[in-house]
Every structure is written in structure tokens, then in C-alpha cells.
């Protein structure tokens, strides 16, 4: 029950985001909502909705320490993203690359950019037009999880595909 409530709250929040008049909708908060993977209540989501993209398709991929190569799991998530983007051609995306706090600030900006770009190139290899994909790095500036151990770090080393535009939002 509470899981369903959460999912509905997420739909409401994301609906606002998708209504933005700025087609790129540069979201400085780095896509704080959205858990990735199927959650309780996901079956109720409209498959064309941003919430479905975030929760069912999965809007993020994770990386190993100081790496920007895509794991098989990451590639599978990005395949799902590319299929969703093929079905929902109104959307453009910004891929936000992030690093954990174990690194100097400017290096982590470069590392986050490599991660975001790795995701972009994979989407392009799956047929998504490069003109639909912007990348930006936040380095270690926008952690999702705030503990200082690997449990948190592994979730912070991420590339998040943030949707913008879209006529159906």
C-alpha cells in the first residue's frame, strides 16, 4: 500500500518536470527521484510516462571505482532506455554523469563526463540520435547517498538519463 502511494507521488512530481517549457530542462538536482528497476505499483504506470522510464526501464547505470566502462547490467538498462526512447520520440535527454567523493573535484568532473559519454555512445549505438542526447557532469557535487562507504559510493557513481520535452507529459 505504501509502495503504491510512493509511486503515485513520484508520478505527480515527474509530471511537473515533464511539463517544463524548456525542452532541455536542465535539472540541477540530478534526478533525485526515481529508483530504477521495477517497484511495487509499477504495473499501474503508463508505459509512455517518464515515471515508467525512471522506475521500470531504469534511468541510471552504475560504475566501478574510477571507471567509466559499462557493465553488462548497465548495457541492459541502456538497451531498455534506447527502446523506450525509440517508442517515445518526443523526448530528448540529458545524461548526468556523477562520481563518488573519493577523488579531487576537477578530476571528478572529467570522470563524470566520461561516464555520461559512455552511456550516450551506447544509446547512439542502439539507434538513438546523438542530437537527442546532451551530457553534463556534476563530478562529486551531487551525491544521492551521503554515507562515506562503498554502500553509498556505489550508488553515487552513476550516469542518470534525465528526460525532457515530450508532448505527452
Amino acid at each position: 500500500m505504501s509502495g503504491l502511494k510512493l509511486a503515485m507521488a513520484a508520478v505527480a512530481v515527474l509530471g511537473l518536470t515533464a511539463c517544463s517549457s524548456n525542452p532541455w530542462n536542465d535539472d540541477l538536482n540530478g534526478g533525485g527521484a526515481g529508483a530504477g528497476g521495477a517497484g511495487a505499483g509499477a504495473g499501474a504506470l503508463d508505459p509512455a510516462s517518464p515515471a515508467y522510464f525512471q522506475q521500470t526501464v531504469g534511468d541510471r547505470v552504475l560504475f566501478a571505482i574510477d571507471q567509466s566502462t559499462l557493465s553488462p547490467a548497465a548495457q541492459a538498462t541502456l538497451q531498455g532506455q534506447s527502446q523506450w526512447l525509440a517508442r517515445n520520440a518526443d523526448y530528448v535527454v540529458t545524461i548526468e554523469g556523477h562520481a563518488d567523493e573519493q577523488g579531487t573535484r576537477e578530476y571528478n568532473l572529467g570522470l563524470g563526463a566520461k561516464r555520461a559519454n559512455a552511456a550516450r555512445e551506447y544509446l547512439m549505438s542502439q539507434g538513438v540520435a546523438g542530437s537527442r542526447i546532451k551530457v553534463v557532469s556534476f563530478g562529486k557535487e551531487r551525491p544521492l547517498e551521503i554515507c562515506s562507504d562503498e554502500v553509498c559510493y556505489s550508488k553515487n557513481r552513476r550516469a542518470v538519463t534525465v528526460l525532457a520535452g515530450g508532448l505527452t507529459g
Binding site: T104, Y107, L109, G110, A113, N117, V136, E141, I146
Partner: protein, 441 residues
Amino acid sequence: MRKILAALLIGASALAGVGAVAAQTGPLRIEIDQGVIEPLPYAVPDFVPETPSAAEHAAQIARVVAADLSGTGLFREVPASAHISKVTGFDNPVKYADWKAVNAQALITGAVSVTGNRLTVRFRGYDVFAEKELESALQFSGTTGGWRRMAHKVADAIYSEITGESGYFDSRVVYVSESGPKNDRRKRLAIMDYDGANVQYLTNSAALVLAPRFSPTGDRVLYTSYESGFPQIHVLDVGQVQRKILSSGDGIMSFAPRFAPDGRTVVYSQTQGGNTDLFSMDIGTGAKTRLTSAPSIETAPSFSPDGSQVVFESDRSGSQQLYVMPASGGEARRISFGQGRYGTPVWSPRGDMIAFTKQNKGRFHIGVMRTDGSEERLLTASFLDEGPTWAPNGRVIMFTRESQGSTGRALLYSVDITGRNLKPVRTPDGASDPAWSPLQR
């Protein structure tokens, strides 16, 4: 005073941490022991107010002089409660015996007058045991609002005469002021005196800002801002608080900007296709030149003071290391070869050393090395130390120290280049990415 000078020079130049000084009671005696410096005892009684409205400033200025000198760790104040003599007139003869009795080896006296909005400070330094006046007697004038700067100038003159080094107290620091929890951190640019006084905010916290740097004359600040949603280089006129964006093109990230010593050229990182390289840009014309072309991350550049070379970090070898190349680009020479990763190199204003951040075995260090990579020495160790900046005299380093965990917070610290005198720098909120200005004029 020549003996004091010699003693402190040995201390200050003890880069390898071998030399040190102990100054003792009685006639000056110098002992070198195991890297522990005995600070030089001095007295700075309240300055003498020479006009009725100068009393408050006369006391405040002496306190700031004392904070500056004692804050170096090279000097130790003999507190007023121990003073035997009271200095009631600036030109009265100094009662050396009274200062010897409390073992004040140096004495600083001063006088302050205020006329309207104008404040004048006169001061003298004395070598108590030699019963001689120092040569630094000077006077400074300015508006009453600038009293702290005048105090810093007095302290710089005394420090300079006794150590033989140029001073650094009359300087400012630009940094990033931080508030809010780790997963919702708000950042804004701030500028303050080197000791944390007179904080002013230069931006609001609507947009993420990172890593500011002063121009060679201290009149402008370069930094990275996410105001557009993408990291771009901004240059801000400190006096006017006017801003300009140095664009590197639509959708291209640019960050890590640093001024060349000429004040007209900027070296920075630009990211295209996920690859980060170094470029230079003429601020006036916007003309860009590529300096590196490697598939690795090249960032954190810093000019040599003569402008001929740039030190930077690159992970082209597989991990972050330091490299030096000509300022116009070309072949780069690796200079870091120790264990771990090296980043954020900053060339000393004296030209003789490079400060850096080192990561090794899960710890972060601030360190210094010669410009050829030799004589590496780590000055600090913690969960997360990063981003050194040099005091204008190349003797002290300020940096960011972040504590770990969900309540982790960034604060500024300073340490001298012998690794002594590690201490926090007072700021109203969290603080990161300090950059020290040149000495003010």
C-alpha cells in the same frame, strides 16, 4: 635582532624538516633540535591613542597584529597581564629592562590617530635584548573602516624584518561558502581577509560554483558556474561585482580555469565527447588554443610564476599524476612517481615548489615537492584533504578538509610548508576551494 633573524631563517628554510630553532631566556641563544620550533616571544602592548576617538582602534589594531604574528606559530605573545611597563607615549624611551624581565625578545609599539574618517598608524619594533630599534618603523594611513588592513600591514612589516621573508597578512582569500546537507549542498562564492574577517558574498547560491582563482593582481576572479545548467567559466570583477561568461561553445563543458601571470590568458579544461583536455583562451578576443590532445583526463592546470610552463594532472598513465609542459602546449614531462594518485598541482608564487593533493591507501594528503618532482613531502593526512593554495610568500598553504559520513562538512585549514601549525581558518559556514590573493598594495 640579527640573531633572531638568523634563527628564524633557519626555521623557515628547514624544508626537509631537519632544522629548527629554540630561542631561550637570557641573551639570545640558538639551538637546533628535532624539528620543533620554539616560537619567538614578543610583546605588543595596546597602541597609544593620540586622538580621543582613536582609543578603540588603538587596542584593536594591537590585537590583530598579535593574532597575525602568533598565528604563524613562529612567534609567541607575552600577554599584557605579564607586562611590567605600560607604554603611555609613542616617543617615550623604551624600558628595556622591564621587557627583558618578562622575556619579550621583540617589542612592538604603536600610535593611532583618527581625524574625521582618516586613521593613521605609526609603529616601531625593538630587539629587546640588543636594546635596538628595528628598521621597519613606518606609518600607514587609510579610512577607519580599513583598520584591519593597516594592522595586517604592521604585522607584515614586523614578520618580514624578523624572518627575512615577505609578509602575507594583508591578503584575501576567495572560496566557496557551503551550506546545507551533503545531498543538497548550496554553494556560493565568498571573499574574505586571509584570517576569515570581512566575509563578503559574490554570488547567490542559486547556481553551483566551483574552484575560484584570483587574477595576478587580485582584481578579478575566475570560477566555474553551473548557472546555465552546464559548467562554464565565469570571470568576475571583484570591485564592481560584474560578471562575464567565457564561452567555450554550446553544450561544451569548461571548468578549472586559471589565469596566466599576464592576466590576459586563461588555461582551463574543456570536455568534448567525454574527453577532457587543456586549452588556453585569450580573455579579450576569446581565441582558443588546444594545449593537450590525449584520450585521458587533463585538468587542474597551474602556471609557473614566470608564465613559461604549466603543471597539470593527467590520468594518461592509468592514474592521476602530475606533468609539466610548456605554456604553449607540447611535450609534457611526468614529475610525480610516488605511490598513489596525485592531483590539483599548484605552483608556488616563489617558483620553487609545487603543492598537490595526494590520494594513497584511502587517505588524502596535501604535499609539496620541488618542480622536478624531487623532495616530495606530505604535510597533512585525513579522510579528505584537497585543493592547496599558496600564501603570497610561498610559506603557508591553505586547503579544504572535508569530514566523512552523512554529516560530513568542508572547512578551510592552513599549514606551513614544513608541516607545522596546522589549524582551521574561521569561516561563517562550511567552506571549500580556497584561493589566496597576492599581497595587497
